[in-house]
């Protein structure tokens, strides 16, 4: 573009015009933050600088409200936890050593707000963004997972959001050739105006291939490649359009980014080729805050400075202002640092994959990030002040008074518990539970995702964890599960976060994998509300204490705040993603029994813990105390499950969580369509609970396993030695085609499957 349509606000101009009014408030900065920017610069910021600071100091990029709490994840890391940790919190994604020279990187992030505004693109670009984080670590992405939370299943707007989000996750992930191996789907009115779309990606690499986001080596070239920069995803930056004189400029820019999965697939293969030939010194994906983030982070993580010419950025829309170029969140872009002698080879790789690129600057030794536009300096900052020295707030928090009342309102004895089923009525109760929106089959969702591509999927939904083979020769692989029960967390955020962790831990160990690392996606309401901030502080404290207790480090994650509408926040939803390692994925444990005559055992004990349960949800009740969590016991259980799987003592295992034993037994029978005869009398007597409680309580530390006859002695020995409660509760019956709880009720699997699988198609077609 040869003509200037802007009043170019240069550094020189800014210094000369200290009193120019700037739209700092519209860009989301507070007055004190704006003052701080002026203090750092010793003058007023230019429009472009203001754009950079405002977006990099936003809650989303700077974690300004949560940093003081998140610190605990690092502070509570022990030597034991650090053992396999190769890259920790702070990089694009954490990296864990899984042995034999292999490393795994994984991370979970939110894309909640965009997915409500524009469900398809919001969800799609959520997948795209997290996958680019994985690529920037030098890894080949090998799988994705998506924990999704929607409003009430029968609310009219839920249709729009569910169809869009599921199609978006599938449309993007399927086109990238990434198997989707698990996740969650929850429906609850608290997510009506704030659906949660979290996206996880996992990648693998050899140890020597790890790449970090830093720009070092004076004279090295900075390149921007992939898609062109457009006007999408600019959001608040559009107020800067007021600096334009051009009335023909489109007045409204889409705040939600638009995804192009084909461009991303090509970008993945192109990056992997760059890594293979060691053509980049440092690399960073462009996500939130676009070029502002990439340049300031690369420069501040490196050893010098960077000089960038913004005029060289390839644009989709030539009318973009420099501020908009800096803030654009156009997808499928990467920034890399390349030594001058490798420029030619780099360009050849770009040509092979037909990827557009432009050399936009170079690494300097000035310690400054300087950005030129049309020959004038429009940004001159210390990159650290943009990327790392953002404001930090100690937001006030306090346990709300209403919490006592909430916790005193137990399900047992409540009006909702008035007609508790027993005997033959339990059959109908099980059918009702298994057809409920949160326990029904999620096949309608997961059948829209490719779980086979890449040929390494050893296990996927509906099993407890997704399992991916990493090494074809040895069978070395990883298992992943994401979990959270927002109802538990609502009742007790500290315990709720630990319950999410315990469930993920149990799922991964139930699949036969050794827990190795945690990534979290902390979805909460407004941090400016002390009640919500208390939930957040408690959840982080609970999760970090829990990780320490279980010996698994948090390697990264993401915080999503302001998930509230009209002053009503979502249930606090700290989603925990746990990664485990299997020495040989052939040893993974499926969630369904298959072999006639195998013994069915229940590990763990059951108490009356119906508060916050799925049964209480079906009856419309939320109150009381969540189930007690004992992480020492969970650790023993997990260790046993991993050993039992490795030594061939169990052929099937499924954890007991939402929906209690009723859901576990139903799902195990439905997995391969094989029935069982179950006797609960002895266990009920042992634990001092009635059959209803035994079936529907959500007591922790429990798993149901199927044990081959030949292994029963060894199995019982192991439980006895570890002093873990176990009880034989039945036998697999391949002939009956029914789940027969003797002396109580029997339900044939056809009827159970019909009830279980009809719900989502009924609502969503």
């Amino acid at each position: 573009m040869s003509e200037t349509h802007f009043n170019l606000d240069t550094v020189e101009h800014a210094a000369a015009t200290p009193n120019t009014e700037l739209p700092w408030a519209e860009l989301g900065l507070t007055e004190s933050e704006f003052d701080r920017v002026k203090e750092i610069l010793g003058r007023r910021p230019t429009a472009a600088e203001l754009a950079m600071y405002s977006v990099m100091w936003s809650e989303h990029c700077s974690y300004k409200s949560t940093k003081v709490h998140l610190r605990q994840f690092g502070d509570k890391v022990t030597e034991e936890m650090r053992k396999d940790l190769m890259v920790g919190i702070g990089e694009n994604a954490g990296v864990t050593d899984i042995g034999d020279g292999w490393a795994v990187t994984f991370k979970i992030e939110s894309h909640n707000h965009p997915s409500f505004v524009e469900p398809y693109q919001g969800a799609a670009t959520g997948v795209g963004g997290i996958v680019r984080d994985i690529i920037s670590m030098g890894a080949r992405p090998v799988a994705v997972m998506d924990p999704l939370r929607f409003g009430a299943i029968d609310h009219p707007d839920t249709q729009r959001v569910v169809h869009g989000v599921v199609a978006g996750v599938g449309g993007y992930g399927n086109s990238l050739g990434l198997p989707n191996i698990g996740g969650e789907v929850e429906f609850d009115p608290c997510y009506q105006g704030n659906p949660l779309v979290n996206a996880l990606a996992v990648g693998v690499m050899r140890h020597e291939d790890i790449r970090l986001a830093n720009a070092s080596g004076t004279g090295n070239k900075v390149v921007l490649f992939g898609a062109r920069t457009g006007g999408d995803g600019i959001g608040g930056a559009s107020v800067l359009a007021s600096e334009s004189f051009d009335d023909s400029k489109p007045s409204k820019r889409p705040a939600v980014q638009v995804g192009d999965p084909f461009a991303e697939k090509v970008l993945i293969e192109c990056c992997l080729e760059l890594f293979k030939s060691s053509l980049v010194e440092g690399i960073q994906d462009l996500g939130a805050a676009g070029i502002s983030c990439a340049t300031s982070e690369l420069a501040s993580n490196g050893d010098g400075g960077m000089r960038v010419d913004l005029t060289k950025v390839l644009l989709r829309d030539p009318t973009l202002t420099p501020g908009e170029i800096l803030m654009s969140e156009s997808q499928e872009r990467m920034m890399a640092v390349v030594t001058p002698e490798k420029v030619e080879v780099f360009e050849a790789v770009m040509a092979k994959w037909d990827v557009e690129y432009s050399w936009i600057g170079e690494v300097t030794d000035t310690g400054r990030l300087i950005i030129d536009y049309q020959g004038e300096v429009i940004v001159d900052v210390d990159p650290r002040t943009v990327a790392h020295d953002g404001p930090v707030y100690e937001r006030p928090y306090a346990r709300p008074d209403s919490q006592d009342q909430l916790q005193a309102n137990h399900f047992t004895g409540s009006p909702e518990d008035a007609s508790r089923p027993s005997g033959a009525e339990l059959r109908q109760a099980v059918l009702e539970l298994m057809a409920s929106p949160n326990l029904c089959s999620k096949d309608w969702v997961t059948s829209q995702y490719d779980r086979y591509v890449q040929g390494n999927t050893a296990m996927a939904m509906p099993d407890d964890a997704g399992v991916i083979r990493v090494d074809q020769e040895t069978g070395l692989g990883v298992a992943l599960s994401t979990d959270c029960n927002g109802r538990y967390t609502r009742l007790d955020p500290y315990a709720g976060a630990q319950l999410a962790l315990a469930q993920a831990y149990r799922n991964v160990t139930t699949a036969g994998a050794r827990p190795a690392a945690v990534s979290d996606c902390l979805n909460f309401g407004s941090p400016e509300d002390p009640d919500i901030m208390w939930q957040f502080a408690e959840a982080v404290r609970g999760l970090s204490d829990g990780c320490q207790e279980l010996g698994v480090p948090v390697t990264g994650g993401n915080v999503s705040l302001y998930n509230q509408t009209g002053g009503v926040a979502i249930n606090p939803t700290p989603v925990v993603a746990l990664l485990g390692v299997l020495d040989d994925v052939a040893r993974r444990t499926p969630s369904g029994w298959r072999e006639d005559g195998q013994a069915i055992y229940l590990l763990g004990e059951t108490a009356d813990e119906l508060d916050g349960s799925e049964w209480a949800r079906v009856r419309g009740h939320l109150g009381g105390q969540p189930p007690a969590v004992d992480l020492k016991q969970e650790r023993i259980l997990g260790d046993m499950l991993v050993n039992m799987s490795r030594d061939g003592m169990i052929d099937a295992a499924h954890d007991v969580s939402e929906g209690g034993l009723a859901a576990t037994l139903s799902e195990m029978a439905l997995r391969f369509g094989v029935g069982a005869r179950i006797g609960l009398g002895e266990v009920a007597d042992r634990d001092g609970v009635d059959t209803f409680t035994l079936l529907f309580s959500e007591s922790q530390g429990r798993t149901v396993v199927a044990v081959p006859r030949s292994e029963e002695v060894r199995f019982k020995d192991m439980c006895t030695v570890r002093n873990y409660p176990f009880a034989r509760i039945g036998v697999v019956d391949a002939e009956s085609g029914a789940l027969d709880v003797q002396g109580e009720f029997s339900v044939d699997l056809e009827a159970l499957r019909e009830a279980h699988s009809a719900t989502l198609p009924k609502y969503f077609g």
């Binding site: 990238l176 192009d260 829209q448 490719d450 591509v453 040929g455 296990m459 074809q472 052939a586 391969f672």
Partner: protein
């Protein structure tokens, strides 16, 4: 089986209950084409290797078929399927070579899977076309198929009428053609695979895969390359077994071609 593998073959998983591949097949070179946006290329190469052959990666922009004995056009979303699925890939330089070789006297065996099938119809190596699934959604599931023609280059190992289960996963999987073409396909026994146990996408005549008249070019929508390895295949197999991801019914597609080529 592990001991029988040659050095450049990778033993793939611990469960090695399958018979060892025929060593004589190793000299058969099967090219697997990668277009921009191809996804299942590495998977198809793995399938060729497990079947006992040698997989040769082919790049769409090259003009050299590298003397391969057969070609697989794998699944994916070439060029994002933003136009019509397969419509742009069809114009790749390498496709001209493949079309010529398929139509030549030598009758190069060509298998198009999913997006590869779409490329074959766009190339007019096979008749008809694929449109969006009837339910307008991507669908991933284990799918039963009946082998309707066991005489093609890619189906010789199967019994006529045999039922197999392989994964199906696509967005544009509904096979359509005009009535005359459908009648012709049926009359000439050129429907190679037919969906059984429910038509997943509205395909005409329940067609899952077809062949050309000479039987060297075969296209099918479901993915046999994802049912070749115990532990990573379909949950069930055509024989009704219940064993997680042990369905390997797709392997004989690849073995069929390799065996045909050793004759």
């Amino acid at each position: 089986m592990a001991q029988n593998l040659t050095a450049d073959q990778t033993p793939l998983i611990a469960d090695l209950s399958q018979p060892a591949p025929n060593a004589a097949l190793k000299d058969i070179r099967v090219g697997v084409v990668t277009f921009p946006g191809t996804l299942d290329d590495r998977d198809a190469m793995r399938a060729v290797q497990i079947a006992g052959g040698t997989a040769v990666p082919l790049w769409y922009a090259d003009e050299d078929l590298q003397n391969v004995d057969a070609v697989i056009l794998p699944g994916g979303f070439s060029y994002g399927d933003y136009l019509r699925a397969g419509a742009i890939a069809r114009f790749a330089p390498l496709m001209d070579k493949i079309i010529d070789a398929a139509n030549s006297d030598a009758a190069l065996p060509v298998l198009g899977i999913c997006n590869g099938f779409q490329v074959l119809t766009e190339s007019h190596l096979l008749p008809g076309s694929m449109i969006k699934n009837e339910q307008l959604k991507f669908l991933c599931r284990d799918q039963a198929l009946r082998i309707e023609n066991a005489d093609t280059a890619w189906t010789g190992r199967y019994e006529q009428g045999q039922t197999i289960v392989v994964p199906l996963k696509n967005q544009d999987g509904q096979y359509v053609a005009d009535q005359r073409t459908l009648d012709e396909l049926e009359a000439e026994n050129r429907v190679a695979f037919r969906y059984v146990g429910g038509n997943p996408n509205g395909s005409r005549n329940d067609i899952a895969g077809i062949t050309n008249a000479r039987g060297n070019v075969v296209g099918l929508m479901p993915h046999p390359e994802h049912a070749v390895e115990p532990g990573f295949g379909a949950d069930f197999s055509g024989s009704g077994d219940v064993d997680m991801r042990h369905g390997t019914d797709g392997l004989d597609i690849f073995v069929s071609a390799l065996e045909r080529l050793t004759r």
